[in-house]
Symmetry: C2
Subunit: 251 residues, 2 copies
C-alpha cells in the first residue's frame, strides 16, 4: 500500500485533505483514483488506513481521504538521537534513509573539526524531504526530527550522559571489548564522526561525558554502512527487556 | 593509503607483481609511481604494507611491489554466511559492499519462491568485482566468497543449525521478543528473504531447522538497510566473549 504524509491527520479524524505535493504524487505519478486505499502518516505517531474519497483530476492538488482506521502508535524505545558529522552530499541520502527506517528520533548535524560538509538550513530542509520519503516507504509514523547544524561543543552540551560513538576497530587479532548485554534504556545517542575521524579533543570530550566507544566487525566502514550497522547494535542493546512476571518479582 | 588486490601475496614474500588491472588502476588512474606506499590484500587473510618498486609507465600493467611488512590476519569470528534472495541489480551492489565491510565469510544467492532476480554465474562474477573493491576500501584481507546461486531447499541443506533470518517486525506496541545476550559462536548464518517476503513453507523450513527470527526496529527495512543492520546485530550477539582468567576458571 502506498504511504502519504498527512500532517493534519489525527487519531479521531473522519477525513483529511492531502498536502498539494502529496496529492499530485498520488494522482499524477501513481495514477491513484477514488476508492484506492492508502496509508497516511502524520509524522508524530498517527497512522491511518484510508481511501481516496474526492479527487480533482484536473488540478491534481485537492485530494480528500476518508479514514477507515486511525491509530496513535506509541513512540518506540529507545529514543535514539543520531549526532552525525555530515558526509558528502551524495552519501547523506543513504544515511538519512537508514536512520528513518531504523526509527532514530532525531538527527543532529554536528560540525566537527575534520568534517567535510557544512550544511546550512536550506540543505537540512532537503534532508526533511528525504525523511518523509523514507518514512512513507518504511511505514514509520514517527519521523526523525532534523535539527539545525550545531558545533561539536554545543552538541555535546545538549546530549544526555548515555550513548555510544562509532570508534576505530581494534587492531586485527586484539581481544574483543567486553560484550555488553541488553539493557532497558529509554534515551540514548549515537555519534558518528567524519570520514577523517574525530579529533583527539573530540574523542576525549566524548569519553569524559561517559559515552562508550562502539565498533562492529574489524574493518573500516563507509558512513552508509556505519550508520545502519551501529544504529542497529544500539537498538538491539538498549531495547526494552521483556517483562516476565514471576513469583520472584512480587514483593 | 590505497589498497590493492594481490592474490599471490604470501606472509613471507619479499616482492610481488600486481595483477594487470590493479596495476593499471594504480598507475593510470591513481597516478602512483615508484616509492609510493600501498596496502596489499590477498583475499585470504594476508595483508602487507609495500612500496611500488618497478613500474612500466608505458604499458601500465607491470608493477612490482617490495613488501615492507606482511601479516597473516586470523580469520575473524563469528564466521557468518549471508544467504540472500538477490534484490534488483541496482541494490545488490550496496548489499555486497556492506557485507564485505562487515566481514561476512560467504554470500550465497538463494533462489526463493518470491525472489525477483535470478542471477547466473556471469552476474555473480560481477559481484566478486564489487567484493574486491569494497575489501580494498575497508582494508579487509578476508574477501567474502561469492557462491553459485542455489535453490532455497538446497541452501537450507548446506546451512548449519545456528543462524538467524530477517523477520517482519512485530506489530507496533507488541511486546519485544526476549533479549538475547551475547554468546561465543563461531559459525552462524543470516538469511534475508526477497522484497516480497519469504514464502510460508520457506519460513516453516527455517523455523524447523532451528534458525531464529531477527528484527531490528519496528518498521520495514529496504534490503540495503536490512543487510548491514542485521549483520551487525548478529556480529554483536555472536562475537567471542572476552576471556578474563580468574581463579574460578582454574580447575
Amino acid at each position: 500500500m502506498h504511504g502519504f504524509y498527512s500532517p493534519k491527520l489525527t487519531p479521531s479524524g473522519r477525513e483529511v485533505h492531502l498536502p498539494a505535493d502529496e496529492s499530485r504524487h498520488a494522482i499524477q505519478v501513481l495514477r491513484l483514483g477514488v476508492g484506492d486505499q492508502v496509508l497516511l502518516l502524520n509524522g508524530h505517531g498517527v497512522r491511518a488506513e484510508a481511501v481516496l474519497d474526492a479527487v480533482d483530476y484536473r488540478r491534481h492538488t485537492a485530494t480528500t481521504c476518508r479514514i477507515l482506521q486511525a491509530v496513535a502508535v506509541p513512540r518506540p524505545l529507545p529514543h535514539i538521537t543520531l549526532f552525525i558529522a555530515p558526509p558528502k552530499s551524495k552519501n547523506i541520502d543513504a544515511v538519512i534513509r537508514a536512520a528513518t527506517e531504523l526509527g532514530a528520533a532525531a538527527i543532529v548535524p554536528v560540525l566537527c573539526r575534520f568534517g567535510v560538509a557544512k550544511p546550512d538550513l536550506d540543505t537540512t530542509a532537503n534532508w526533511t524531504r528525504t525523511v518523509i520519503a523514507a518514512a512513507k516507504q518504511s511505514h514509520n509514523p514517527w519521523f526523525p526530527e532534523i535539527k539545525a547544524p550545531i558545533t561539536f561543543t554545543d552538541a555535546l552540551k545538549t546530549a544526555g550522559a548515555h550513548g555510544f560513538f562509532g570508534a576505530v576497530p581494534p587492531p586485527a587479532g586484539a581481544p574483543c571489548p567486553a560484550a555488553l548485554t541488553a539493557t532497558d534504556q529509554q534515551q540514548t545517542s549515537l555519534w558518528i564522526g567524519p570520514e577523517g575521524g574525530l579529533a583527539p579533543e573530540e574523542l576525549s570530550a566524548l569519553n569524559a561525558k561517559g559515552l562508550q566507544p562502539l565498533t562492529v566487525g574489524q574493518w573500516i566502514l563507509r558512513v552508509e554502512t556505519a550508520v545502519p550497522a551501529l544504529l542497529a547494535v544500539v537498538l538491539d542493546r538498549c531495547r526494552p527487556l521483556p517483562t516476565t512476571p514471576t513469583r520472584d518479582t512480587v514483593g
